[in-house]
């Protein structure tokens, strides 16, 4: 057992976990943050993507201990109160989710994509950047539309801040 100290969605936490615990297990089973999903469990599907120190990583492919001392943001931590994050709003407006299982990972990856590319996003870039996130409803069309829509909204909301 080890104590892992993290900041999760703005709150400092210290959790005692077995050394073999994955970051996603710490989030879901110990902190009850079940918005982060486990899809494939083989590091391919991206349903478990969270932000660690601002970077979109697969929380099923990290030991909790590796994340010690870092700042984690999950899908539960991106809205401001009742106001959805622009990426969440764009997914809703563009019907970017069908069953919804991949959505948390899609949204966390998509925010990272917009951060890295800023206003330079086009459809081909979004499609290639989303290759680590699998939607088994195959609803990619509207997901891509949502990301492009959100890229515009995020620019506006950043400019307003």
């Amino acid at each position: 057992m080890s104590t892992v100290k993290l900041t999760v969605n703005g709150k400092a936490v210290a959790v005692d976990v077995e050394d073999r615990t994955l970051l996603v297990q710490l989030l879901r089973d110990h902190l009850n943050l079940t918005g982060t999903h486990v899809g494939c469990d083989t590091s391919q599907c991206g349903a478990c993507v969270v932000h660690m120190d601002g970077k979109a990583v697969k929380s099923c492919t990290m030991l909790a201990g590796q994340a010690d001392g870092s700042t984690i943001t999950t899908i539960e931590g991106i809205a401001k109160g009742d106001e959805l994050h622009p990426m969440q709003a764009a997914f809703r407006d563009n019907h970017g989710l069908q069953c919804g299982y991949c959505t948390p990972g899609m949204i966390m990856s998509a925010i990272d994509i917009v951060h890295r590319h800023g206003g330079q996003l086009d459809e081909a870039t979004v499609r290639s950047e989303l290759e680590g996130n699998i939607c088994r409803c195959t609803g990619y069309h509207n997901i891509v539309k949502a990301v492009l829509d959100a890229a515009g909204r995020m620019k506006v909301s950043q400019a307003a801040e």
């Binding site: 970077k55 990583v57 492919t61 590796q66």
Partner: protein, 266 residues
């Protein structure tokens, strides 16, 4: 995943010392291969020694005609590094088509070559560029380092600290990506050294892992152009065959990817 004991090392010396005290330890860099393998219970190290916070294993240095990438530098940090893009843009390109964005944030060059997956990308770059692998004990030429499927010259407890690449005159890398795993169904790295030597390495193709391709090297030495590879014939003997492609298919891919890599290299 079976039980294991996690250690975080803060220096190379500490990592090596922790390894020596454990019964069956594994070094953990980005974990993008080791952790999936542990989750499938195909590996069950008694101890994992995390290298992620060791500062001396991070970063890129360009000194004269040598580009040195420290072992725990992530793919993302490699592909966005200004010195890499300037000195050997083919390495930046190779890194940008490896895995997916989340994997590139975590995976490292040292992890890739220590594992020596027969379809990994970096072994082709090391072999074609004539790189040198630096460990905590010695320097190993790429030719001697890669010894077959998942096999390297590393001794038990020996830790890769950096890879040094001689800056080439020209280099290019192209691969046929497996659409699901993004591994190279076959990838070819071509390089022309500053002294005029031509070196070509293929990954994902051979049953014995990464390999040089002497017939293409000879063709490109005579004439550095995609057309020079047209007449080359690659034997399917010893090439991988699986549900994704036959040995003959991969033999043809070696040619086609070499031609595309030469085009990319210019």
């Amino acid at each position: 995943m079976y039980q294991t004991t996690y250690h975080r090392a803060s220096s190379v010396d500490e990592a090596v010392s922790l390894f020596g005290k454990s019964s069956e330890a594994k070094f953990l860099a980005g974990g993008q291969t080791l952790l999936p393998v542990m989750k499938q219970r195909l590996a069950s190290p008694s101890d994992v020694i995390d290298l992620g916070k060791i500062k001396e294993l991070q970063g890129v240095e360009l000194s004269g005609d040598t580009l040195t990438i420290k072992a725990a530098t992530t793919y993302y940090d490699i592909m966005t590094n200004a010195d890499v893009k300037k000195a050997i843009p083919a390495i930046a390109h190779l890194t940008s088509v490896l895995g997916d964005p989340a994997v590139r944030y975590r995976g490292t060059i040292g992890g890739s070559i220590a594992n020596n997956d027969p379809a990994a990308d970096f072994p082709a770059a090391l072999l074609a560029l004539g790189a040198t692998v630096k460990t905590n004990k010695r320097s190993i030429a790429a030719e001697d380092f890669f010894q077959g499927l998942f096999t390297t010259a590393l001794e038990d407890g020996e830790l890769i600290t950096a890879v040094s690449f001689p800056v080439p005159a020209k280099a290019g890398y192209e691969k046929m990506r497996h659409p699901a795993s993004r591994f190279a169904l076959t990838g070819v790295f071509v390089a022309q050294t500053k002294s005029g030597e031509v070196r070509v390495a293929a990954t994902g193709a051979s049953q014995s892992g990464v390999m040089r391709v002497p017939v293409i090297e000879a063709a490109l030495k005579a004439n550095w152009s995609p057309a020079a590879v047209d007449g080359v014939s690659i034997s399917a003997n010893g090439l991988l065959a699986d549900i994704h492609g036959t040995a003959e298919y991969r033999a043809n891919l070696i040619k086609v990817m070499a031609q595309r890599a030469v085009s990319a290299a210019g």
